[in-house]
Amino acid sequence: MNNIAIFIPNLLTWKGDRPIIGGLERYALSLADLLTEIGYNVSFHQYAYQDFEKTHHKWLVYGYEADPAHLHLTNNRMEKTVKGQVLYASIAQQTSYRPGSICISHGVWWELPGSSPTNAQKFYENHVLSALLQAQLIISCDYNFLNVARAIYPNLADKKIRVIPNFVDLQKFSPRPKTKSKGLRILYPRRLSLERGFALVAAIIPNLLSEYEDIEFHFAIDSNIPEHLKAFHTWRCKVDNNERISYSHPDFQDMVNVLADSDIILIPTIYSEGTSFSCLEAMAIGKPIIATNVGGLTNLIIDGYNGLLIHPSKESLYQAIRFLLNNPTERNRLGKNALATAQAFDKNIWKARWQECIKAIYTKG
């Protein structure tokens, strides 16, 4: 009876040959660790080109053949195949839930700039409303999702949604000296996808590089999607002063050093953001952060206190970077406060709060 099946879009790739790098996947693995620790037998169920069964870390991962245009059919098949208790890793994946289940919201994800009201309505009616009506508990990684859901469904949101902000492992992420010390390094530690704001950074780099001779940019990026990476290289080749634009594909272990070697960290999200791991980790390293006032970032950064919280536009980003480059004392102060606030997001707090919820929903009697 101690089985919990986690439904997730893609823990591994569609082929099942390697893990996907992203916040949702890291979240799911941390949760699986916790569940295993307290005695549950965890399995993952995800989309695939062809059915597969693999082992990832210590867990079985089942791939279910899926057609990207008709994912609901695969969802139905997962529902039929898996007996017992299910934990739904993403509210964005599901439109129906079995009784007595938990689902997770990783932040409002459908607020693509310029999309139509009808389109938006489809998202919140299909996903948010179904979860509010069917799931027993919705864990939201930020206050923003709860607040948006309450503004859309005033009578329902508070009954089902509970906020557990994302976490940072303070044992792993703590301040340490820079190992490279030539000039100032501005870091973009995000994936290359549209919503993460790579384009905003790319647009202002030429001016900044010519204006400041002692700065460099570093991109700590994923290689999930080959086309994105190709576009990155094409862009980089064309920029003047590109000897001061470096990049790397750090894994989770190397990330600490990449963060520690930077002087300013950018989290320039355009949409679809929760309490970003990248942001929390940057805070825990004690660096000055420029984040946008999007999604759960607003629940982490207080403008002018532990970072700068800006409107996601090129102009705001440009001005914010210049402000920090010109003000070393402010960089120092914001970094210090970022480190102090990171302590409130200690992984142990996250674990304790999740444990209560698991006990309440899955461990009855």
Binding site: E111, S115, S116, A120, Y143, N147, I302
Partner: protein
């Protein structure tokens, strides 16, 4: 030639009585008008009223006779303003929905926080088609003004999630506090024998007054050294009377309200400040003032409060149920060191919301749009 700005609101003065309560929105309006005048503009205000003209703080306020409120919008008032302010150069819509159905060119609209997240909103736009009609009208309201100013990030996020066409119009200008006026007092006095819990809000359900009263009953009977101070107006004489009656039957519960000048002292005397809003909340002035006075804040996880309070850092963000309030107050009341740390952090955070920063941000916006 002095440029003229017309500001449209609904109820600064009560439309028919002389009762005026200086709440957060009213103070915001007075401060914004002062800033506009400092920048050299002539300002006049329009609102609902029986064709009167009054004056407040040197600003003329015109009452427009209308009673029409459709789907939480005020088309008649808005149209009358459009016509009556014809000789004015620029406009400010003090509430977003007032920019419906048509907004002046060179105008700004302000959101003081989401107010449609309260189940009571259902009374006016409860049916699905009514709500859709309200949203349709809001879509039109947001189209007109050049910039949309929000006191919190929640409003921006809500509209980007429902009417996302206005992504680039939004400006987050959080509320402010005068950190010279609201400041901590020297803590080196003698050991106090009572812990004072302050509820500095209006006595209305959205502010969590019901839950706070229940929590007060439980905690004051459990601990003779805890006292509760309710400090705020009701929306009518009757609610204020009910509160007075209730405190007279309670041990260690007090009710009073104070003019703005005395509020710094009220916060300074408190040990813990409650802002247990259930909804309808922006970046609450009360929360900012409590923080500026160096007090830990127990806040509802709603609206703009999530832009001010970091759970477990400078206070608590919780669902304001009786049980949650009792547990949080109990914990903080027993832990002097924690109250002190959280209070100091609150003070530091409040400095980032200094009124001077607000003045600068608004001045820049005004210069950008009114040109």
């Amino acid at each position: 030639m002095t440029k003229k700005v017309g500001l449209l609101t609904t109820n600064f003065f009560h439309p028919t009585q002389d009762r005026i309560i200086m709440g957060g929105a009213e103070r915001y309006q007075v401060d914004l008008c002062r800033l506009l005048r400092k920048l050299g503009y002539h300002v006049e205000v329009w609102q609902i009223g029986d064709n009167w003209t009054k004056e407040f703080d040197g600003v003329k306020i015109h009452g427009v006779k209308t009673s029409m409120n459709e789907y939480n919008t005020f088309p008649e008032l808005s149209m009358a303003f459009y016509e009556n302010s014809v000789s004015f150069d620029y406009a400010i819509y003090f509430i977003l929905s007032l920019a419906y159905p048509v907004a002046r060119e060179k105008s700004l609209a302000i959101s003081h926080g989401v107010y449609w997240d309260w189940p009571g909103f259902d009374v006016k736009t409860g049916r699905h088609q009514d709500h859709q009609e309200w949203l349709r009208r809001m879509n039109i309201a947001l189209t007109g003004p050049e910039k949309l100013v929000s006191v919190d990030t929640n409003t921006i996020s809500y509209f980007n999630s429902t009417l996302s066409n206005f992504y680039h119009k939004w400006e987050y200008v959080p509320n402010y506090v005068n950190t010279d006026l609201f400041c901590p007092i020297d803590d080196n006095q003698e050991e106090k024998d009572k812990i004072r819990i302050l509820f500095p809000r209006r006595l209305v359900p959205v502010r969590g007054v019901n839950e706070t009263m229940r929590a007060a009953e439980i905690l004051t009977s459990r601990y003779p050294w805890i006292e509760f101070h309710f400090c705020g107006r009701g929306h009518d004489d009757n609610t204020e009377k009910l509160m007075s009656q209730w405190v007279s039957t309670q041990e260690n519960c007090y009710y009073d309200w104070k003019p703005f000048e005395l509020m710094p002292q009220v916060y300074q005397q408190a040990d813990i400040v409650l802002i247990p809003s259930r909804s309808t909340e922006g970046t609450s002035l009360a929360a900012l003032e409590a923080m500026a006075c160096g007090k830990p804040v127990i806040a509802g996880l709603t609206g703009g409060l999530c832009d001010l309070v970091l759970q477990g850092y400078n206070g608590y963000l919780l669902k304001p149920t009786v049980k949650n309030l009792v547990a949080a107050i109990e914990e903080l009341a027993k832990d002097k060191a924690k109250r002190k740390t959280m209070g100091q952090r609150g003070r530091e955070i409040a400095l980032s919301f200094n009124k001077k920063i607000w003045d600068e941000r608004w001045s820049k916006l005004i210069t950008d749009v009114f040109c």
